[in-house]
């Protein structure tokens, strides 16, 4: 990928790496101890991850548990600072300017919480205010999001009593309240029922239609099949596959699962 390409892309990540200091090696599980990423006092959670996403594209981030997906997305969201590598957002390296990235990125973490003492509207408003939005604009945006995400029935109730699906919808509204240039979702459908899942997927589709690129991690290959333009597979902190959905399908035409396992260089039998 040459430099000119990178600049034209909406978001592009190259050679990202992140290691964590292991405070107490005795506390590690056997599996973690056997992980080749554990080197001395450091656990190299992400070693070499690269991918990119164009305007209006949806990128599915796949990988087994503990592969480094969440760490990668956290770096992308600027919650964590990468050790090496760069993140270009509209051609600007945001590793050096996290505040700029925070304005442009909408990020929904896997373990999302809301302030239970506040209503859904207040939760969204708080983050909109942190983004420096004006009261009038906030109200307008919330009304619009409430229509898209069907929030009206519970928007003004306190979040503590919400169901998981309600919480996730408010969380999504909060994520995109400031009209981010890129939306990053960490396992947005995990733990949701079919209805709520469909709402989330429809919302991603809506973003895509508006030209907003979406990067989301998931374990559901059907979602990838349905929505994604690009697929990136991470295993043990390294990008194993990064290409279009058609290239991914082509790995094993009969099944997406086989294609996924293929990228990990594992056989179905071996796993089964």
């Amino acid at each position: 990928m040459n430099h000119k390409d990178k600049i034209e892309r909406m978001i592009s990540i190259s050679d990202l790496a992140k290691k964590f200091k292991v405070e107490n090696p005795k506390k590690l599980s056997d599996q973690e101890k056997r992980d080749p990423r554990l080197k001395g006092k450091f656990f190299h959670s992400v070693k070499d991850v690269s991918f990119y996403c164009e305007k209006g594209q949806v990128l599915g981030l796949l990988g087994p548990n503990g592969a480094g997906k969440t760490t990668t997305l956290r770096m992308l969201s600027t919650a964590l600072k990468p050790d090496t590598g760069e993140i270009l957002l509209e051609g600007v390296n945001v590793v050096k300017d996290p505040l700029l990235a925070r304005k442009k990125i909408g990020y929904l973490s896997g373990a999302t919480g809301l302030y239970g003492k506040l209503t859904g509207r207040e939760n969204i408003t708080y983050f909109a205010q942190l983004h420096g939005m004006r009261p009038h604009a906030i109200k307008q945006k919330i009304d619009q999001l409430a229509n898209t995400l069907d929030l009206h029935s519970f928007l003004d109730r306190r979040c503590a009593n919400y169901s998981t699906g309600m919480k996730q919808r408010i969380a999504i509204a909060r994520t995109v309240v400031h009209d981010p240039k890129v939306v990053i979702l960490d396992e947005p459908t995990t733990g949701l029922d079919i209805m709520a899942t469909q709402t989330v997927l429809n919302f991603i589709r809506g973003l895509k239609n508006n030209g907003v690129p979406v990067i989301f991690s998931t374990h559901h290959l059907a979602e990838v099949d349905e929505l994604c333009d690009r697929v990136t597979v991470i295993n043990q902190g390294v990008t194993e596959f990064d290409d279009s959905i058609s290239a991914f399908r082509a790995l094993a035409p009969q099944s997406m699962h086989q294609a996924f396992l293929h990228t990990l260089r594992q056989d179905v039998q071996l796993c089964g």
Partner: protein, 397 residues
């Protein structure tokens, strides 16, 4: 920063648990508990005073006077005791509340009999008024006997007085009332206020750091485009605010209940004492609490954000209550005064200053040292807090 502050305060106000601990507990529950204890103990004392006591007497024949008096007095009931009884066993088995043993040298003339030693066997571990009730009987007889002896010796009034107490040490207190009361309660009040500030700040502190982590809102907050130090300041202000408010509420409730409960004599004393402390002194006391609360808030926030869960945060914070005792105890040690080096010891100097202000003997020059050292430490701790909030190791434990 104010955005964060306002939102945190809004959440705080909506939290019934926090409100209960911050307001209901000091305003209603504590006074009720203290009042209840006072009422019950008063009642128990009253009971002990009026309860009929059973007694046995040995050697009654030597002191018919005492024997008679006990018989006549209401509230004493004689139980006859066989000879050679073990008194301990007799009392423990509940047959009598006490046994009184009169020696055979008993006589009405002290000049002949010498000092008379009457033994009273009783179980003194329980609340009882045996001694004071017996004393009131014996005292009358003793002073009558004393008078008898004086008459026999033909002593003048002044000789009698001199004989009873040949040398008297008379204490002349040059401290005015405010100073002497102030010294007595002035050591206790700062401790009380410190603990209240700390307690009041603790609950919101747990929520604002560890609570955000546990609920999963912290990550989202961290990636919102607000500078980290503003975020920390907003949270820090909330915690400090809660600490000051809860301390004020408690002190106010103490004052109100004190005024309501203490009628008559006590209120005059309190009113006079309070009236002698100027408004400026009160304001100074309050102002000095601000950097103290800042120290507490910064420490609490650091601990809270380090902790993974509510539980862990509470575990880290509980020992603080013990630690806060140390500087206050230091301030109560003899020889520790608000000057020189001690004026620079944080918390201790504020404790000393509050005492001086209450006593009315404040050296206002020392305020520089007090505000200086407390503000520097609070500032350093706050800086640490901001640094702490930038550590991935702390935030994503």
């Amino acid at each position: 920063m104010w955005l964060v502050f306002l939102k945190e305060v809004k959440e705080l106000v909506r939290d019934k648990k926090t409100l209960f601990f911050m307001i209901a507990l000091p305003m209603i529950v504590f006074p009720l508990i203290i009042g209840g204890v006072a009422w019950f103990s008063g009642k128990a004392l009253q009971e002990a005073q009026t309860k009929t006591l059973t007694y046995s007497i040995v050697g009654a024949e030597f002191a018919p006077e005492i024997n008679q008096q006990l018989n006549d007095e209401n509230g004493f009931k004689l139980i006859s005791i066989p000879d050679e009884t073990d008194f301990k066993e007799w009392i423990n088995s509940g047959r009598a509340d006490f046994v009184i043993v009169i020696p055979d040298n008993y006589g009405v003339n002290p000049l002949q009999s010498g000092q008379i030693n009457i033994q009273v066997y009783l179980n003194d571990a329980n609340l009882n008024m045996v001694e004071s009730r017996l004393n009131s009987i014996v005292k009358d007889i003793a002073s009558r006997n004393q008078q008898l002896a004086f008459n026999q010796l033909a002593l003048s009034e002044s000789q009698q007085v001199a004989l009873i107490e040949p040398i008297v040490l008379e204490k002349v207190d040059i401290a005015d009332k405010r100073e002497s009361i102030g010294h007595k309660i002035g050591g206790f009040i700062p401790y009380f206020i410190f603990i209240l500030c700390l307690q009041g700040a603790m609950i919101p502190a747990t929520d604002l750091g560890a609570g955000e982590k546990e609920r999963g809102t912290l990550e989202t907050l961290l990636i919102s485009p607000i500078e980290r130090h503003k975020l920390v300041l907003g949270k820090f202000l909330t915690i400090g605010f809660a600490g000051v408010v809860s301390a004020l509420v408690t002190v106010a409730s103490m004052a109100i209940w004190g005024i309501l409960l203490s009628r008559g004599m006590a209120i005059e004393l309190v009113a006079e004492f309070m009236g002698s402390i100027s408004i400026i002194d009160f304001i100074l006391m309050f102002l000095m609490l601000v950097p103290v609360v800042a120290i507490f808030a910064a420490v609490l926030l650091s601990l809270s954000i380090y902790a993974r869960t509510f539980k862990e945060a509470q575990g880290y914070m509980t020992p603080l209550v013990m630690i806060v005792i140390v500087p206050v105890v230091l301030s109560m040690l003899p020889g520790v005064e608000l000057k020189g080096g001690w004026a620079w010891v944080p918390l201790t100097n504020v404790a000393l200053a509050i005492r001086e202000l209450i006593k009315g003997t404040m050296d206002y020059m020392q305020l520089i040292a007090i505000f200086g050292s407390t503000a520097i430490i609070a500032g350093l701790l706050l800086t640490f807090c901001v640094y702490w909030f930038n550590k991935e190791k702390v935030l994503f434990r």
